[in-house]
């Protein structure tokens, strides 16, 4: 915890695609729109790179919510979005098995100018996490 920081603020990890969502997040900043500071954006070529274990490890480590901001069907990589969507489905299944709230992991499509959609997703996840127990949860 940082000195003087607000405790128990749930941390949101945003996996943002380099082609769409990351410049979309930049666009939000460029228009000086605000969103909670507990949302951390990580640039990724395509989130299809992450195996199921990555998401579960994030929750174990203390990440409260994950927004996978993809390019959706506009993904420049053939087959990547469908594979990603299927994988997120499987992660949700494993979250259920571990009694983790599946709304803590959400897949959405954000384009380079989707500022409203970006803000809505972050705000919704932030509000959701304030309601749920955001303490690190370990696999049984």
């Amino acid at each position: 915890m940082l000195p003087g920081s607000r405790e128990k603020v749930p941390r949101i990890l945003i996996l943002a695609t380099e082609a769409c969502a990351y410049p979309g997040a930049d666009h939000v900043g460029q228009i000086h729109a605000e969103y909670p500071t507990n949302a951390y954006i990580v640039r990724v070529p395509a989130p299809v790179i992450f195996p199921e274990s990555f998401y579960l490890r994030c929750f174990e480590k203390g990440i409260a919510g994950i927004l996978v901001m993809s390019c959706g069907h506009e993904c420049p990589y053939p087959g990547a979005y469908d594979a990603l969507a299927a994988r997120i489905g499987r992660v949700h299944q494993r979250m259920i098995e571990r009694k983790l709230d599946t709304s803590r992991l959400r897949l959405c499509a954000i384009c380079t100018v989707c500022s409203k959609a970006f803000l809505k997703e972050v705000q919704q996840m932030h509000e959701k996490l304030l309601q749920v127990d955001a303490e690190p949860q370990h696999a049984p």
Binding site: A19, T37, P51, R87
Partner: protein, 684 residues
Amino acid sequence: MIGQSSASANSGEKKQAPRIGVYICRCGGNISDVVDIERVVQAASQIADVAVARQAPAMCSQAGQDLVTEDLRNQTVDRVVIAACTPSLHEHTFREAIARAGRNRYLYEHVNIREQASWCSKSDPQGATEKAIRLVAAGVAKARFAEPLSPIAVNARRHVTVVGGGISGLRAACDLARAGLPVAILEKSPFLGGRLVQWDRVYPTEQAASDLLRELLNEVAEQPGITVYTRAEIVEARGCVGDFQLTVKRQPRGVDDTLSPEELGAAIDACLVRVPSEHDFGLSQRKAIYRPCRDSYPNAAAIDWEHCTRCGDCLKAAGGKGICLDDSPELISILTGAIVLATGYDLYQPKPGEFGFIDYPQVITLAQLERLLDPDGPTGGSLARGGRPIQNVCLIHCVGSRQIEGLHEPGLDGKIHEYCSRVCCTATLRAAAEVRRGLPATNVFELYQDIRTYGRNHEQYYEDAMRAGVIFLCYAADQPPLVLKNPASGGAPLSVVVKDRLTFGEELEIPADLVVLATGMVPRNLDPIIDRLKLSRSAEGFLQEVHPKLRPVELAVSGVFVAGTSQAPMDLAESCSSGSAAAVKAAALLSRGHIELDPFRARVDRDRCRGEGKCVEACEHQKAITFVETASHGETSRCAQVNSALCNGCGICVAACPHQAIDIAGWQLAQFDAIVDALVADYS
């Protein structure tokens, strides 16, 4: 010290601990006005393996870059973390700086604390500072794993596609062709020239726009390397810089050039369809088979398929030849190395009732006035409306520009246009002086907020208008002029009421025969091409360059450039400069015949690979992963192998491997795990 040390970060291999330099940019206050930079520097200096943590007013400046290169040269650091603006802006800048210092340019991590910390958290400086600290820590965590990489050289197609056949697109195409590059011009409409064909004379040279266009079109015609596709739109875009694969849909023209002028005239006369003429901004009508003006290029007419009823009357009138009403659109494939977007602008369309627009036929836009003043225009240069001579003309500036949220209603596009359209002041002054010169008995009133004649020689138009007797009245943004029906019968049909700031708010009522609304430039709807090429728009909706000063014609997608008014309001001279700038950048990019791409490609750890083939099954990109047979100790086994030239670095193979035997160079899973660890770590 906080964070994981290099010993565990490098799979147990005994290596010298990394010496990471963290450099934090104040960005001239863009970051430091919100983020407590001193606190970030202090926190960064406490992170394990950080050798130095420094700050600078502008890291991208020469002085800022020198901080990094000096530390690299004297071996204080061996890898670099820059916390500054978005990587799309300066990642390349710092890679080059690192290379100049003799180090591998990929021993570097960029952290975005401007767009994604200070600018999006202005009301929460403490939160923004904490976020910046964690983002820097995450950057350090990723940089620990950074390794020297070599860019991949790929062949680049020495060909450029210019989208848009207006003045900036034509200028770019000519300059590219002169540089020896084949060029395809894709123009959505059936004719080249863009807005230029709609103007009579243009400032600041007062040259006839038609002469200017003819000169440019002659240049195009003289360049064998330029191929023009009219009625052409990109419907699909694949590939990347150096190797874009465009699918272009081309609508048929419907009319070929075998018709004589008489036959074409007969065909046009025979058409019964009438639609408002785009060329005359709705002041006249045209047929479904049409040419916008005498000097249009190509010289052949075209059929407006949206309104054509395919009755065949034109074909009969033309003697049954030269016109085809049955053609279908064709799809053509263009392989190109770079793209220049010169897609132009739209003019603000006033809402019905806005300053009396639509409600009163005597209210027109500045563009319509230009058409009326054109001797080749719909009225042969006459301003008279309904046979009534024009005694008083009121020109109102800033219609649809410099709007204020809460004060102005959104326009027909649902947006408030807060920006200044820049070119309208000079254009309005020019038109006002022309009216005075052509109709000395006509009183001309300019109702303005500010006169912004910013360009070279533009101020001369202000002086000319004053000398010509144009009367200036200054209104406040919150007290715009009112355009009303004149209750007095027999006089001017309209009355314009304005509170003049030059006379300390005196309310004046001007009988007006004609009211002209100086409407500004607004961005075109470019959604399809923005989606296909993954581009960014500015807050105003124009195409967003990477950096307004340092990379003014480059878009965030490598190999895509912007020219002219698709970027922002600009006049003809600026549009030409912009087109030339885009051409030079594209030519420089492709001139070597190859391009260096980032080496972020899949690679196989042969010690871990068991040849199960999950990655081969998962790869959907041109079979970039195949099996190879390997022999070891007399036994043959198979192992995955990546063709880096085909791999697109998507990482679909990475998650597919149950043995973690495949990874993306520069984007290793271990790096992402380290990032997560850093984001959740305790920094107290």
